[in-house]
Amino acid sequence: MVIWNIARATFKECTQKKVMWILLGVALLIIGLSFIFSFFAPSERLVLIKSMGLGAIYLFGAGIALIVTAGLIPTEIERRTVHTVLSKPVERWQFVIGKFLGIALVLFMNLILMGIALLIVIMGQGSVRAEGFVKALVSNARILEATLLLFFYLLILSAFAILFSILTTTNISIMLSLFVFVVGSLSDYVESLINVSQNPLTQIFLKALHLLVPNFGNANIYNPVIHGYIPPGEFLYLLLAIAYALSYSLILTSISCWAFAGKEV
């Protein structure tokens, strides 16, 4: 109840932020700019549209998550609005969870909007509609599947941004979270380096890195989605990947709650 109240207010606050709409607007623009690929063959063009679109959603989704999240709690403290909230019968952890849920709503809205925009652009391609509208819609709806999976991984990113913003400041939080995001996005490459490397120490280091750092790369299921085929065991993969994202977010949010409980505001 209290949590839901704070979540709703947070959602409202974020949707009033110009920077979020600007980022979303640029992302939608990139998604919509598919006609620049008109010099490619239709099948190739489709791959590019999907790939560019999903890439834009990945990057701009992360950008929105970072910029919107990192400022939330510091702003509350700076403007002292947090005093009016925490002096009411609200636990510190409820405040943190409420903020987190609010952000989740914001991210969900953004991702769904971007995902649907991309779907519309794809459905606008003549070569896609040729196979029949409903069939094309069903097969391309996996864009939304990829977008939804990304949603869970952006939760990790937001959880990081919240934690860092409680421990440091907005700007430091953005930088640290960005760093984590970049390293975590390379998880596939880190994993391949383990096999390439000869030195056992390096291997152990890389493996530890791979297991400790949040693997944002897990959200990258774009290749099969782009080429429209379903790898074996995808459903299980999605469940595992989502469970991973939620557990990781749980850890971070727990730490955030404890850190915030001990913070003087």
């Binding site: 791959v47 590019l48 890439g55 390379l186 991973y244 557990s247």
Partner: protein, 388 residues
């Protein structure tokens, strides 16, 4: 304390989940390994940040540039990177293999083309395209029709256009397995008829059906005609002389009674080519010399062709001795020639004719001689060898 326990438990869960996730990750990762030699930093960054397929497409544009500017040596590594970034970019495998096998005009690269297609097939086992490409590699380039049959069979078992099955039938014809070819043409005729019946205005289906009917008829006719050849085979001979025109340029002059327009295969390779190939890892074939020419034609009882080895990159001539061979392979001959010698040389006999296999009966002509490095590199023009 409780907190720490809670964190440890959830974190263990996270690690377990990631380990499990990793077992599925193969399906989504870039394919295989590669080096980043030719990739610009921007493209690499694009790729790393989740825009792998965009990066692949951008690089694909670059291939075009290299192709037009003639920087062929840059194309193959670039294609490797593209397929690494986007292992489902079928066209990249297709073009890459084509580039290796045909465009580079370097016979040493054919195994690489084959490996490359195999990798593509591994990544895209459900698409017919690369199986068909593999079939075409063996049908058209290597002219190993049994292998072509193998691959076209796999391609045809997947959803694919009628052309694939037609190529399978042609491969059977070339391999001399005429009954199997006829069976497929018959199937194609029946399938075509069904399609045309369903829609009499489907011109594509009508065309496909008519092609099948024509080929079916031709097969039946040739089956009878060529069976007759085996009853009274003709004696054929092939002799030749090898001249050195200038250093690294040889000339072969052959005399034969083979039918007009017969194609004679000319090859000049390291005497120990197999060992050399094994020793050259991957793409480095610096020590292998492999010259092959499948085009020389018989005109007026003669065949004359130059062996130009001046390209020292392609023909490094690192060994001490080389084997020059001329061969006549009945399967690879144009149809009018086959009408004289049969699919597999059934109509051939004589001391120059070798039996390759007996079931189905296969014959060929092949005569080789050894040349030393000095013979190839020498200065004056002279007759090096006479092969009777």
């Amino acid at each position: 304390m409780k907190r720490r326990l809670w964190l440890i438990i959830v974190f263990l869960l996270v690690i377990l989940l990631q380990l499990k996730v990793d077992t599925y990750r193969e399906n989504y990762k870039p394919g295989g390994t590669t080096s980043f030699g030719y990739i610009s930093r921007e493209v690499l960054a694009t790729a790393l940040m989740g825009l792998r397929e965009v990066a692949a497409s951008l690089l694909w544009l670059k291939i075009e540039d290299y192709f037009h500017s003639g920087e062929h040596e840059k194309i193959t590594p670039l294609i490797r990177i593209i397929t690494w970034l986007d292992p489902h970019f079928i066209e990249a495998y297709s073009s890459g293999a084509w580039h290796l096998a045909w465009n580079s005009e370097d016979w040493r690269l054919i195994p690489s083309a084959e490996e490359f297609l195999k990798e593509g097939i591994k990544n895209n086992p459900d698409k017919y395209e690369l199986y068909a490409d593999m079939g075409w590699l063996f049908y058209d380039k290597v002219k190993d029709y049994e292998k072509a049959i193998e691959w076209y069979k796999k391609a045809a078992s997947l959803p694919s256009p009628p052309l694939v099955k037609r190529m399978l039938a042609h491969s059977y014809e070339r391999a001399g397995r005429i009954e199997e070819a006829i069976k497929i043409w018959k199937e194609l005729v029946e399938e075509g008829n069904k399609l045309v019946e369903r829609n009499p205005n489907n011109f594509e289906a009508i065309f496909d059906r008519d092609v099948a009917v024509h080929n079916y008829n031709m097969c039946i006719i040739r089956k009878v005609d060529r069976a007759a050849l085996a009853k009274k085979p003709k004696t054929y001979y092939l002799t030749y002389q090898v001249y050195r025109v200038s250093p690294r340029i040889l000339q072969v002059r052959a005399r034969t009674n083979l039918p007009e327009l017969s194609r004679i295969r000319v090859s000049l390779v390291d005497a120990d080519i197999e060992r050399r190939k094994k020793e050259s890892l991957g793409w480095q074939l610096m020590n292998v010399t492999e010259y092959r020419d499948v085009w020389p034609q018989v005109k007026g009882g003669e065949m004359k062709t130059d062996i130009d080895l001046t390209d020292a990159l392609k023909y490094p001539l690192k060994g001490e001795s080389f084997i020059l061979a001329l061969s006549f392979l009945p399967q690879t001959q144009p149809i009018p020639v086959q009408d004289y010698v049969g699919w597999l040389g059934e109509g051939m006999t004589g001391k120059d004719v070798i039996v390759v296999h007996t079931s189905p009966p296969g014959k060929k002509m092949e005569k080789s001689t050894t040349l030393t490095l000095e013979e190839i590199l020498g200065q004056q023009t002279l007759l090096l060898k006479e092969v009777k």
